[in-house]
């Protein structure tokens, strides 16, 4: 069985899980909010150290195996959220309007905030691929089909994808925990925000929100799961037919104003 060949990966994962759960959740007060350190965040960091190429503990083949397992395990997360939503389908349907507006939030967040910043930093066509979505696997497919992955747009989407893989979950976990602890937003709204369309980022963000509002634990997972499902299923069409064309249009309008004209192709990234 080919799985057994990668025993090192699985054994490492088991040891990491046990250590991280034994450390447990820690909170650090920072200004008005709280930085929340969940076992899953240590798991990501310890895992990252174990896979650090210089240490030579695991080889590239084993890292690829870990990546394949990652794809499967996120399915378990989807199932867990599904069984939570099941008994409360009516409740989710009630907030259908709020849920269906989520894609607009993703668009405003990635393009309207991200694109001008990318242009100000001197990125060229890369900024289109980098900011039209949160750049997970389905979004890469869109860019790949339209521009090819060796194009500037392709480099943009791949760079953000790699950043997301490396520290997206840790970043969103800390950010969501901090924002939740500020108590500006209702936990249901935060939960919907957490359903960004990436399994590990959604897990980190909604886990942090749940830890800040344990009394709403079930509802938080309910809304995060529903929002994530909406984004996974409909988000791809929204990206293809709305976000990407609008990003292209905004790029044309904004790049002469914000971009650095002397480097038309933009800086290499």
């Amino acid at each position: 069985m080919s799985v057994l060949k990668d025993w090192k990966i699985h054994l490492s994962a088991l040891i990491i899980v046990v250590i991280c759960e034994m450390i447990g959740t820690r909170k650090i007060q920072m200004g008005p909010g709280v930085l929340l350190f969940l076992p899953m965040l240590y798991a990501m960091v310890i895992g990252g150290i174990v896979s650090w190429p210089k240490l030579k503990l695991i080889n590239l083949k084993e890292m690829n195996a870990a990546s394949a397992v990652l794809g499967l395990t996120t399915f378990m997360l989807v199932t867990k959220l599904g069984v939570i939503i099941g008994p409360s389908l009516g409740k989710v349907a009630q907030s259908g309007v709020a849920l269906s507006m989520q894609e607009l939030g993703h668009f405003l967040g990635t393009v309207v905030l991200g694109l001008p910043l990318a242009l100000l930093l001197g990125l060229g066509r890369e900024s289109v691929g980098a900011t039209f979505s949160i750049d997970r696997e389905p979004n890469i497919a869109i860019i790949s089909e339209k521009y090819g992955l060796s194009s500037p747009e392709g480099r943009g989407v791949m760079s953000v994808y790699i950043c997301g893989t490396l520290f997206g979950a840790v970043w969103l976990g800390l950010l969501a925990g901090y924002l939740a602890a500020l108590k500006i937003f209702h936990p249901y709204a935060l939960a919907m925000g957490a359903g960004v369309g990436s399994g590990s980022m959604m897990a980190a963000a909604s886990g942090a929100i749940k830890a800040v509002f344990p009394e709403y634990a079930n509802e938080i997972l309910l809304y995060a799961g529903a929002a994530n499902l909406m984004t996974t299923v409909f988000g791809i069409y929204f990206c293809l037919f709305v976000s990407l064309p609008l990003t292209e249009y905004l790029y044309k309008v904004l790049s002469p104003i914000l971009g650095r004209s002397e480097s038309k192709g933009g800086r290499a990234i």
Binding site: G47, P87, G114, A189
Partner: protein, 148 residues
């Protein structure tokens, strides 16, 4: 990946999940193990459906449908599925997932080192923006609908 491998991997993750679950949460390991096995069955059925049904939708859609139905009022087993699966904490499933995410980090490091700091700033802005804006919109809409 073959089905045998898939099932084997789910089994391994199950051991980790139930172990972590028992350390951090007050649920008996036996009930959590049953809960995990139920979720594993749901996941595998969903994956199989995704392969069989010719409509082009992401596999997570089919898994979600089966999971939703299993605990919705139409399911005759809704009560027991809910009971056992609630014994596996959401966070206990997350820890192994991120452990594997961490263990695959090394393969992307070379490419990451070649990237400019600018794109890293943009990436952080994109993730922050998505979360903030969709939270803000949800807050406004839920208030508007009188749900919060």
């Amino acid at each position: 990946m073959s089905w045998i491998n898939t099932i084997f991997i789910f089994g391994l993750i199950g051991i980790m999940t139930v172990a972590g679950n028992s350390i951090s949460y007050p649920f008996p390991a036996s009930e959590a193990a049953i809960g995990y096995l139920i979720m594993m069955a749901i996941t595998i059925i969903g994956m199989a459906l995704g392969k069989v049904i010719p409509i082009k939708l992401p596999m997570v859609f089919w898994i979600s449908v089966i999971a939703l139905l299993s605990t919705s009022p139409v399911s005759p087993w809704a009560k027991s599925v809910t009971y056992y699966t609630s014994k596996v904490d959401f966070l206990a499933i997350c820890t192994p997932i991120l452990a594997y995410a961490g263990l695959s980090v090394g393969k992307d490091l070379d490419q990451f080192k070649k990237m400019s700091w600018r794109i890293v700033v943009v990436a952080l802005a994109v993730y922050t923006g998505t979360f903030l804006m969709s939270t803000a919109i949800a807050q406004i809409m839920l208030k508007f609908e009188g749900l919060i």
